[in-house]
Amino acid sequence: MLSYPFMQHAFEAGTIVAVLASVAGWFMVLRREVFAGHTLSVMSFPGAAGAALAGLPLAAGYFVFCAAGGLVIASSSRLRGARSFADESAVIGTVGAAGFALGFLFLSLYGGVLESLESLLFGSFLGITTAQVWTLAAVAAGALAFFAVAGRPLLFSSVDELVARTSGVPVRLLHVAFLVVLGLAVGATAQITGVLLVFALLVAPAAAAQRLTARVGLGLLLTLAFALAIAWLGLALAYTTNHSVGFFVSTLAFALYLLCLLTNSFATR
C-alpha cells in the first residue's frame, strides 16, 4: 500500500495531523473549549469554499478562516474574574452560524456544486500533494513550538485561571493564542477528516486519555498514541475497502472513547 506515492502522502499528512490534533485536543478538552473547537471546525467550510471562489489553494482558506475564527471568539469572550463583552457560548454559536452561512454564500457564488463538496465535508485522503504535506508540517511545527514554550502556563491557566493570573501568567493573551493555534490545528485536521469529522481526531483521543489517567505527561502520550492509531488504521481501512476515510476515523474514535469509558467505570467501581 505504501508503494503508492498518494498513500505515502496520505500517511505523512495523517501522521502530522494526528500529532497536532492530539496536543491541541488534549488542552481543548482540559480547558472545556470543545464547543469553541467545534465552531472552529465549522469555519473551515467557508474557508475552503472562499479559497475555491478566490482561486487560492484550499489549505490557505482553511488556515486563514479557522485562525480568524479563533481570534473572533477569543477577543469577544469571557474570562473568569474579568469584565466580559458577551457570554462565550453565545458568541461561539453565533460565529458558527455565520460561518456556515458564509460558506454557503461562497459556494453559490462559486457556481453550482463544488466538485469535491463531499470530501470537503467528510474527508478524503486522495490527491494530497507534497506541497500540502510540507504546509501541514510547517503549521504543525509552529503550533507545537507554541505548546513547548507556553505549555506550562497554559496548563496552569486551564486548571485555575484566577490563581494563574495572580501568579503573573498572562491568561488573556494565552486564551487568545490558544484559540488561534487551535484554529490552525482544526484547519489542518479538516483537510484530512473533512469539516464535519474533525472531532474524531481532536476530541475523542484526548477525552479517552483523560478518562484513563489524570497524569499530564502520560495523558499527552496516550492521546498521541490513540490519535496515531486512529489515523493510520483509518487510512489503511479506507485504502482496502474504498470507503471514506472520515467514516473509519470517526468510527474508530467513537469505539475507542466508548471502550475507555467502560474500562474507566469498571475500574472506579
Binding site: G81, R152, P153, F156, V159, A164, S167, R211, A214
Partner: protein, 265 residues
C-alpha cells in the same frame, strides 16, 4: 519590623460604586487574621485590592513593603468558591506543582528534578499524602482545600490570602483546616489573611479580626471587635452579639448587603 500588610485611608470603587472607604489596616508578619463581614460588604474586594487586581480609588496600600501586585510571587492566593468540577482530570500533586513553576515558560526538563522534593514536603506539611495522586475532581472539599493550600504555600509564600476556604467544608474539616493554618502561621512565620463567613471555627486561633461592613473596615482583637456596641456602630443598625454556653459567637440582625450584581467578589 515593617508590617506585612498596610492600608491608609484606602477606598475601592467598582463601576463607580463605593465598596468601602477610609480603611486603616496594619497586619504584622506572622499574624493570623480573619476578615469578617456580611455578604457583599467587600471582603473579597479587600484581598483583590491587596493583590493589585483592583485599583484603589483613594489612599495607599503596602504589601510586603511594596505596592499591591509587586510581590505577588511571595503571596499564596486562594480565590473564593474554589471547588473543582468532578471531571477535572489533573492530579493533586500536579496542581501543587503548578504553584511552583506554573508561570514558567518552556518545557520542564526531565531527569534531575529539584522541585519534586519541595512539592512532596509541602504535601506532607498539609497532610495530603494519602490522596495527592488522585484526580483533584474526585476529592472531597476538605481534601481539595488542603491541596490548594499546599499549592499556595509551595513557592515559599510569606503571605497567604484565603477567600472563604472553610465555606464548603463540614465542621470537623473546618476545625482541622483552621488548626493547620494556625500551625503554619506559628511554625513558618506565615502571615495569613482569611476571609470567613463564620468566625467560630477560627476563634481560638486568631490574632486579629478585620470587619468589613457598612462601607467601612475595622480591625482589632476578636474580643474588642465582635461586640454588640462595635458592630452596631459599624452597621449603623441594631446588631447583637450573643455568646452561647459553648463559647460560640452569634451575630444577630446582621444585614446582608444586596447589590445589583448579585454577590460582589
Amino acid at each position: 519590623m515593617s508590617a506585612a500588610v498596610e492600608l491608609h485611608g484606602a477606598a475601592v470603587a467598582i463601576d463607580g460604586r463605593m465598596i468601602w472607604s477610609g480603611a486603616e489596616l496594619r497586619v504584622e508578619p506572622g499574624e493570623f487574621v480573619a476578615v469578617l463581614g456580611p455578604n457583599g460588604a467587600g471582603k473579597s474586594t479587600l484581598l483583590q485590592a491587596l493583590l493589585g487586581l483592583l485599583p484603589l480609588s483613594a489612599g495607599s496600600a503596602a504589601v510586603l513593603g511594596g505596592a499591591p501586585g509587586e510581590h505577588n510571587r511571595e503571596i499564596g492566593y486562594l480565590p473564593q468558591r474554589h471547588a473543582f468540577d468532578a471531571s477535572t482530570r489533573i492530579r493533586g500533586v500536579d496542581l501543587v506543582r503548578l504553584g511552583l513553576d506554573g508561570a514558567r515558560w518552556g518545557l520542564p526538563l526531565p531527569g534531575r528534578d529539584r522541585h519534586a522534593a519541595q512539592v512532596e514536603e509541602t504535601i506532607r506539611l498539609v497532610g495530603a499524602e494519602a490522596f495527592a495522586r488522585r484526580a483533584i475532581g474526585e476529592l472531597s472539599g476538605g481534601e481539595q482545600q488542603r491541596l490548594l493550600i499546599a499549592q499556595a504555600l509551595v513557592g515559599g509564600a510569606q503571605l497567604l490570602f484565603l477567600d472563604e476556604p472553610l465555606d464548603s467544608l463540614d465542621l470537623p474539616n473546618q476545625l482541622a483546616v483552621a488548626e493547620l493554618l494556625r500551625r503554619l502561621a506559628r511554625e513558618r512565620g506565615l502571615t495569613i489573611l482569611l476571609v470567613a463567613h463564620d468566625v467560630n471555627p477560627l476563634l481560638p486561633h486568631l490574632d486579629r479580626v478585620v470587619y468589613v461592613a457598612g462601607g467601612r473596615v475595622l480591625q482589632g482583637p476578636p474580643a474588642q471587635v465582635i461586640t454588640t456596641e462595635t458592630l452596631t456602630g459599624l452597621y449603623g443598625a441594631p446588631v447583637e452579639v450573643l455568646r452561647t454556653s459553648g463559647g460560640r459567637l452569634v451575630v444577630v440582625g446582621q444585614p446582608d448587603v444586596h447589590t445589583h450584581h448579585g454577590h460582589t467578589h
